[in-house]
């Protein structure tokens, strides 16, 4: 990862945390001041989708080439994606407790996100249950593609088909009133890019560490 990208993530997130708290936001009932959570909660999901998408791309590349480095990349991107998803669920629960009245509201979007995370957790269970390295990589890659294909309808399509209290669901694409507000976009988009860059950075660190460990001369895994 290029050094300037790392510094860009620093600049963007320092800006997000400062402007996100200080700049004007629309005065809305129910959410009130917590509308600012949009700057922190939603980028987790954008980051997760980016990381899972990258993971799937590497899974496809592994299946085409049988190159083990692609498999390592695929796993580590999925790893960081799970972390982002868990942070998204937890921040969403805090926000839901305030605006909807309970942390788990049974909202289609909330349930869908939880099921999507479980589907991805099963990916690690599947990998852990196989001892043959090649089998683990091949089956893992195939399952990874399935997991991504399952996540998209669970998070983006099914909540829109039923009634959902979550913004951007229940027949309303986009963020409606939030997205229309130009002031919020000024902070929201930098936040999304910043968190995606940090996720990419952490994944790169994990990949480099894995490569180092695998290249050790007295490696018991090989």
């Amino acid at each position: 990862m290029k050094n300037w990208l790392k510094w860009l993530s620093v600049v963007l997130l320092v800006y997000t945390c400062t402007a996100g708290l200080l700049m004007d936001v629309p005065r809305l009932s129910i959410v009130n001041e917590t509308v600012r959570a949009l700057y922190f909660h939603v980028p987790m999901w954008f980051g997760m989708v980016f990381l899972f998408l990258t993971s799937t791309v590497y899974a496809i590349r592994y299946l085409r080439s049988s190159d083990a480095t692609h498999d390592i990349r695929s796993v580590e991107f999925a790893n960081v994606g799970i972390i982002y998803g868990i942070l998204g669920i937890l921040t969403g629960m805090v926000w839901a407790n305030y605006t909807w009245g309970s942390p788990w509201h049974g909202d289609p979007k909330q349930n869908g996100a939880a099921v999507a995370l479980l589907v991805y957790l099963a990916y690690f269970v599947l990998r852990g249950s196989l001892s043959s390295e090649e089998q683990r990589a091949r089956l893992g890659a195939v399952y990874n593609i399935f997991a991504f294909a399952a996540m998209i309808p669970l998070i983006f399509i099914l909540p829109r088909l039923s009634s959902s209290v979550h913004p951007g669901s229940g027949g309303n694409p986009g963020f409606n009133m939030y997205d229309l507000d130009g002031r919020m976009r000024l902070v929201f988009y930098p936040a999304v890019i910043g968190w995606i860059l940090v996720g990419y950075w952490i994944a790169q660190l994990r990949i480099r560490l894995r490569n180092l460990a695998d290249n050790q001369p007295n490696n018991s895994n090989q």
Binding site: N32, L212, N215
Partner: protein, 72 residues
């Protein structure tokens, strides 16, 4: 006449007061007291610490990679 004036004055006052309460409540008091800067400072310190940690981790992994290349 005096009564009518005071009545309209009272109506005007209450209507502005009502208009204020019907507007969604925001943390305006916290902002005017400047306490929001305390929050900004705390969050920036945590974020800064996290980035310093990431940069040192990055450098350490880089050093390990260099060592391995030398051995190979």
């Amino acid at each position: 006449m005096k009564n009518l004036l005071s009545l309209t004055g009272w109506l005007f006052l209450t209507s502005t007061a009502l208009a204020q309460t019907s507007e969604p409540e925001m943390a305006d008091a916290m902002r005017s007291e400047g306490k929001i800067y305390v929050l900004v400072a705390i969050i920036l310190i945590i974020l800064g610490g996290l980035f310093v940690y990431l940069f040192t981790l990055d450098r350490k992994i880089g050093q390990l990679e260099n060592n391995q290349e030398k051995k190979a």
